[in-house]
């Protein structure tokens, strides 16, 4: 028995080692096979995975439908942008040329401020659920975006629709990630360095989420999702637990936002539209609400798939019809929408649902069959 157990453990360790190695060499494989632009796609996929995991806490665990989640991404991004660019010097000359705080100050600060915004959204919506909550959160997301669009007067904080340029790229110590680095004799491109940083933080967020899920806090989130009144009767302070869910989810979004700003070196309100909120929600729902693995899969697929479609749409048409009939840009969204519909039709619980939710959907389908059967029998 003990020998078996040791062996199992060795297998698990070997598996984790191989997986880590695969993640480490992935950007090199991708850039060698498809070019550097695909590493950039991977970088964005990691940002979306962080967002999806954050939203999963609110929607998947606590069952609170949030349609304005991208606002927290915006808060993190603008915080980084304002603090790491010369922009604020226009309004406050003493701040020139920007604060250039290190990453281990600015990212936690982004998480904290986004978390506070999460509480700001959560507090007035404590009594709302379902559709009503969705509408209020949708409004909140739009309010943040419109503020960003208009806060160039009376004090120019966000530079309005033009957005903020000249943001200092992410840097750790003296190492600027945007530039390639010579490590052990060969050059690692900047885009790869971003990948490693994002991967590290994404893994951190996965770790935190996994630990939270299987804890007193995680259980109380699921409890309020399942039955809020019963949760109260079990001694759960539903107000605090809900606010905590909003704050935790938002803080992940804030971290991802900061990374986004330092990666793009440019932010504008356009990047934080309702479509983006809906996209992140799609990742959570399509991947498998409440299941961490599913949510990661959803984030990866929905951020990479449109790029693959964009890349493949023209050559495939060329080969099939001899010419490009449909503009690849519009065709890819068409196919993307089709893919979403198909997944929701054939896997309504998501691609990789949590075990519980899968049963829930199967039972609902069974019951429906029984009802249909009874009606047919009586007719």
């Amino acid at each position: 028995m003990i020998a078996d157990w040791r062996k199992d453990r060795q297998v698990v360790r070997a598996g984790i080692g191989l997986f880590a190695l695969a993640l480490a060499v992935l950007p090199f494989v991708v850039s060698a096979s498809f070019g550097n632009s695909w590493v950039r796609v991977l970088d964005f996929a990691l940002l979306y995975i962080m967002l999806a995991l954050g939203l999963n806490i609110v929607v998947g665990f606590a069952g609170l439908l949030d349609l304005g989640y991208i606002a927290f991404y915006a808060v993190g991004a603008y915080l980084y942008a304002v603090l790491s660019s010369p922009h604020l010097a226009g309004a406050f000359p003493s701040l020139a040329p920007g604060l250039a705080w290190p990453i281990w100050v600015i990212l936690p600060l982004g998480a904290l401020v986004a978390g506070l915004f999460g509480i700001l959204l959560g507090a007035p919506t404590l009594r709302l659920r379902g559709d009503y909550l969705a509408i209020v959160t949708l409004g909140f997301g739009e309010i943040i975006r419109i503020f960003l669009n208009n806060l160039n007067a009376p004090i120019n904080l966000t530079n309005g629709p033009q957005g903020i340029t000249g943001i200092a790229p992410l840097h750790i110590g003296g190492v600027v990630l945007g530039r390639g680095q010579d490590i052990l004799g060969f050059t690692v491109p900047g885009i790869h360095l971003y990948y490693y940083l994002f991967l590290l933080l994404a893994l951190g967020i996965v770790f935190v989420t996994v630990r939270l899920e299987d804890s007193r806090i995680g259980r109380s989130w699921v409890a309020i999702r399942e039955d809020e009144i019963a949760a109260k009767a079990c001694g759960i302070n539903t107000r605090n637990v809900k606010l905590l869910a909003f704050a935790m989810g938002a803080s992940f979004g804030g971290v991802a936002g900061g990374l986004f700003a330092g990666f793009q070196e440019f932010v504008s309100p356009e990047s934080f539209s309702l479509t983006e909120s809906v996209m992140v929600l799609c990742m959570v729902v399509l991947g498998g609400m409440g299941n961490i693995g599913g949510v990661i899969l959803g984030g990866l697929l929905l951020s990479v798939l449109p790029e693959i479609l964009r890349w493949g749409a023209a050559p495939v048409q060329q080969a099939l019809f001899g010419r490009v009939l449909l503009d690849p840009e519009s065709l890819r969204m068409l196919l993307f929408g089709l893919a979403l519909i198909l997944v929701m039709l054939y896997r309504p619980a998501g691609l990789w649902p949590s075990a519980v939710r899968r049963r829930e959907f199967e039972e609902a389908a069974e019951e429906e069959k029984e009802i249909v059967g009874l009606e047919e029998g009586s007719a």
Partner: protein
Amino acid sequence: MTILLEARGIGKNFGGVQALRDVSLTIRRGEIYGLIGPNGAGKTTFFNVLTGLYSADSGQVDFDGRRLNLGAPHEVVKAGIARTFQNIRLFANMSALENVMVGCHSRSRAAVIGAVLRDRKTREEEARILRRARDLLRYVGIESRAFDLARHLSYGDQRRLEIARALATEPKLLALDEPAAGMNATETAALKSLIGALRRDGSTILLIEHDVKLVMGLCDRVAVLDYGEKIAEDVPAAVRKNPKVIEAYLGAAHA
């Protein structure tokens, strides 16, 4: 016997309807106290006020020597009142074990930092919660269903699970809202012996019940509500003969 709970002058209105009017009662430590009355008499409303789900419009409740903060259910639970619901309210998509573990919430403290770092204190607390949840499932006799989803349990087992979850809050007073509702004779008998066991183990129980036979057989004292007012409070034998009670249940002709 010392007094565990004293409610004084509880009143509650819903719009123009006066659901409770000046209801006062006292529950002593270690007794089973029954609350009966015809449909719509205000029993469940009284329960909801007592357990903090509704705030009272007037009156107050002293429990275990302290004034209860009515309207804050989690504080009421913390003070030591646990309840079950007339229409069972379990966390349907959590396992039986997890349901009881949620019940341990108010007697444990791990927060975000502890959950993420999983330090020794948190691990010990989790182990304690798990042990206690298993013990309680065994106590109510559904240990074998620990890993089944709550929704998959039979009706009788769901009732037991709800009681186990309530016990996980370590209550000084266990409030059961029509626990025998919808049960067949066998299930009711099993429930009766479970409530008997609870009393032997030192629990104080407040019982709302329609099944008059069950109430009369189990309770040490019974209060009767009618149209939101308490019309009687006594030992079962006396309540049964009380003309006001007979009138409330059967009409004036029988009194």
